[in-house]
Symmetry: D2
Subunit: 243 residues, 4 copies
């Protein structure tokens, strides 16, 4: 696969990585005219100053690290939890709200889902649009408040990361196909409860509340232990499946 002048490249280094377009590029190691790389194959190595880099086609995780962050984002670890419970796959029709910085929409679009994303804030909508342009992923993003209704029908998966998701539950129930999932991301227990109580009013089954904790380990000079500090909390995910 060849490097194009429109698309992002990853400079994979031993200490640092950079995600950039093929421009005249400067970093702490020196300067390199990345425009020379256009038309060449990914995988070649370059030197910036004394530091060597492999030029790689960036994947979704590389790109997300570079993405603009407006509101709080859903981390890949939590996006992945959604795939592990719902089993979403490339042919799925997904409704997502609020878009926020678009991290979850991008993650799901990246595994081939057809994503319709609702964002009521004009400002976040613009940030998400910019992020999506850099990803070459086809997401249908709308500057619209999902509390007013969901236009899509026969939806496989609805993901909600927004204030008052409980106000969307009735729309979600209607828009989902039988066996389809709604997933709500909440930072606080009180939000979990509010949406949980609303879900119980409809014909949902398999309701469950999960949190996902990643613990990192290190091996230094043959001594192995968990890293000293860890992220203790991102959010709770509430899952429910339409009967």
């Amino acid at each position: 696969m060849k490097i194009s002048k429109e698309k992002m490249i990853l400079l994979l280094g031993k200490e640092k990585n950079y995600v950039v377009k093929p421009i005249l590029f400067s970093c702490e190691y020196g300067t390199f005219d990345l425009r020379k790389l256009v038309g060449k194959n990914f995988g070649i190595k370059i030197k910036i100053g004394k530091e060597e880099f492999t030029v790689v086609k960036p994947n979704i995780i590389d790109l997300l690290r570079k993405a603009k962050r407006g509101p709080q984002v859903i981390l890949p670890k939590d996006s992945a939890l959604i795939t592990s419970i719902t089993g979403c796959s490339p042919d799925w029709k997904v409704v997502d709200a609020g878009t926020g910085s678009g991290f979850l929409a991008l993650f799901l679009a990246n595994i081939g889902c057809k994503v319709y994303s609702y964002e009521k804030s004009k400002e976040f909508y613009e940030i998400a649009k910019k992020n999506m342009k850099n990803f070459n992923l086809d997401i249908n993003i709308k500057n619209y408040d999902i509390i007013k209704g969901i236009r899509e029908k026969n939806v496989d998966l609805i993901t909600l990361d927004m204030k008052n998701p409980e106000k969307v539950v009735k729309h979600a129930f209607k828009a989902l196909k039988g066996g389809g999932w709604v997933v709500i991301y909440s930072m606080h227990i009180e939000e979990v409860k509010k949406v949980y109580n609303e879900l119980k009013k409809y014909d949902f089954v398999d309701i469950k509340i999960l949190e996902n904790i990643q613990r990192e380990w290190q091996t230094i000079k043959q001594f192995t232990r968990p890293k000293t500090y860890m992220l203790a909390h991102t959010g709770f995910l509430t899952f429910a499946r339409k009967f």
Copy 2:
């Protein structure tokens, strides 16, 4: 989408679920001739005895629950962790070994990866083949010991869940493209260390060791707390990226 006589269906109930082919079906609630459903649309409701079910096209997680388990399996939570670190997507070429019951290969194929899976045991190879047939996912499975070598080139992701994965590291390094990932699943710290030390001999970057913990919560009569017991350990995942 219509129900076909060849493919599995999910009977989604309020208490229990069943994944079956459309046959004359009996369960604790009674008997139902599912053959009558062939040609109808998914989403219809049926009654078996007094119990109502929605007939749903099963997703990968539904199918995995039904899959035959020979050797120990990689759970969806750990498969999903792999997607969240490597960013794998539908166009990826993936090499997987040992296949085992095929859970990881199926999970990755389900999000569109082109998976080549190696299993040296004839017995496990047959179990995995049967599982794959029920999934309609195109996986290239071979009854071959990956320690002897990897035939694929320019690979995006290599996943190893097998004894002595450290013996595959040199093959993996050669088969991967620049920026490609190798991921090793290990139950024990000693195995993590052995493969970690081997990885350090090659030009890999971003080496990290993670474990993934899922904690489930419950809300009963307006009282919220974590469930009393949890799965404390499945395995450690070691990630490394080819420079």
Copy 3:
């Protein structure tokens, strides 16, 4: 120290332990007349059938394992958390309610605290009394509802494991000395919040909410990993210190 006929002994075995009085004793290994041991020194070894046991003076943890359990108990791991935050020591005056099975009162009395324990239920009060008799620990237990008031003054530590602990906060504030601690054990988040909000109305400082998680590891044939299952939740502990 000598074995007496009044006090419990621990038979420490390689597979099983027993906490009993020196009686004619039968277990799966056989029968032994423990009365012969009275007057001998702790530490001697006996054989019951083919199984060897060391006769040991039981400690608080041994005794708690044997104690009668009426209502839910506070486990030693959570009792210990209380000592690690409050720094309680042998000279402390402690008020405890509700006594329940008496586990926390016994744990604190065992490290020398002078404990006054309130239990409004006659039934639990009797269970706790029996437990305490077997421990030779001097605890002042009363069959009285602490919601009606605390009689002690100048208290170092007040521990509450009961319904509606928020109704005791005002009494606790009055009974505590400056710098003294109140600690509330709650199973559910909703209870934590209720008492937390009440604590905020008084001059308490250093308010914090903690949970304590113990993860056990195993080494089998030189392979090391966490045990597969763990206790995921016992309770939340809310701490506050009187200004």
Copy 4:
């Protein structure tokens, strides 16, 4: 209880705490001549500038926060875990090595144990001595390498936080009474294994490896969730009981 000129006092504030002797004291809020407090009762309130403080007799946790830290310390959460498994109580004879900054020795002495602490480094021995003087706790600390032998007999508990604790196992087995515990604190899995394998050579029972994780919660404006970051690792504790 009265304030004396020799002993530490805790100034408990709403934002900050100070542990000091009754001297002419300055802090960010202003200056106060604490010598005026000598002979008065604990519990009185003073103002330093505009900030109010309660004058409190400091407990072990307050004092440890102020203690000098030379080598890495055992935190109260791990010290408390030791009490919750071994059930140690005021009458216990405890051998501790290496003393380090003395945190564990002080914690155990504070609940009334008679502690004999071994520290081979002259430098750490001096730090620990200073800490102990400020605590008014009677600890027998020796500048001696425990690998050369343990002088005490009939010991209830031996705690090891040192390099090569496996070299002390044979001494520990001899010094312990039947039913007594040895506990080893290790940062790394490799150290756990080495000492575990040594323990297996002797007649120890109830061998177990634990780690203790504290998760803190917060309630802000009626919204409750775990704090974002947490301490992910301090050490592993290996327990074994002499048969």
